[in-house]
Symmetry: C2
Amino acid sequence: MEKFLALSNEKQDTIRNAALACFAKHGYEKASINDIAVAAGISKASIFQYFGNKQTLYQYLFDYCAAQMKQAYNTSALEETTDFFDRVWEASVMKVENLKKHPHIASFIASVAAEPTPELKSAIFSEANEKYIASLVLHERDYKKFRHPEDAELVFQMLMLLAKGMSVQLENGVDYDGMMKEFREILNMLKHNFYKEEYLL
Amino acid sequence: MEKFLALSNEKQDTIRNAALACFAKHGYEKASINDIAVAAGISKASIFQYFGNKQTLYQYLFDYCAAQMKQAYNTSALEETTDFFDRVWEASVMKVENLKKHPHIASFIASVAAEPTPELKSAIFSEANEKYIASLVLHERDYKKFRHPEDAELVFQMLMLLAKGMSVQLENGVDYDGMMKEFREILNMLKHNFYKEEYLL
DNA sequence: GCGCAAATAACCGAAACGGTCAATGCTTAT
DNA sequence: ATAAGCATTGACCGTTTCGGTTATTTGCGC
């Protein structure tokens, strides 16, 4: 594996992305090293040169993704933002920026959770991370801004579902910036309809 | 193929579901007849007895899904319902009931669209169907009920995204009834916050 | 027990699998 | 220019699995 880490960063990225995409799409068993090699534009033998065997490559990708996902969120920025909808927006931007940089990590992690041999660490870790971010976004002190304070939690759950829908769209090739622009408009609209007038500037 | 149609409906269903799930998960190339046979609890040879070859089976499933999806929506009921949010609810119930009955059709159709040899008929047909339902749900005459009539279209787009998010959750094993209950609550909440008071009973 | 169709175990050649290795380039130091 | 050194790969290994066929077994009405 030192062989692989000695490569240029761009080449590492190409290979990682090819492997992540293949494993995500086909799962561990059905993704062949040859598929990955072709997708990466290198020879099959090179991959064995770099990683020794299929399992080691898979484990490496998993560790890489776990590390990358921890970096994805800037939690301190979230803590400093005072408005609920602004925090939702910030967290979404962080998520999408990360998705732009590493387009296949999310679907790879999702596919690991679906493996018949579930190292469910992945699902658990990934879910725990999401829950943690969620807990940073919704606070009780946000409730009072709502015309009907009891709506706040349901609005939040709705926004989580909305985010899932957006992720699907992005995976299907919808453009990032257009999607984010629409999402920004949705947040503004929700704010104007759900907040008391005194909290709208 | 007459051999297959002579089977009992339950057995047909078992085999179809197994095949749909395998093709949806792995795609045409990587889904093997053996996978399907094991999933269906019958022998590989039987599948060839019924369908002759892999391609014929795939084509049969595609035709079957297309036919099934046309039946899924009761458009006349939609046309008779006068309130926007009620129509959204009705269309969602139809979609979810269909998903309960035929759990793998949606993902199979989605996977056909992702085939490297895209008979893009599937994507086009499926999308056209969705667009048509959408056109039945939102009418201009709904706008006036909104506190801000210009919000109506964006609310609708938001609800479409929300539906996508819900589909993801359902595919991941979240229970149907709980999800639908939450969605009903969301719709009520939106209605109460977006409609003018005079339109709330 | 017999006849017959439905189901399958056993099998086919071909292809693809994970993995190895000797031969090729491609640098770089002399 | 050349030889050493190393990253890269085409060709190959034994094994498994592929789509598809065939010969045998099974279950069932009579």
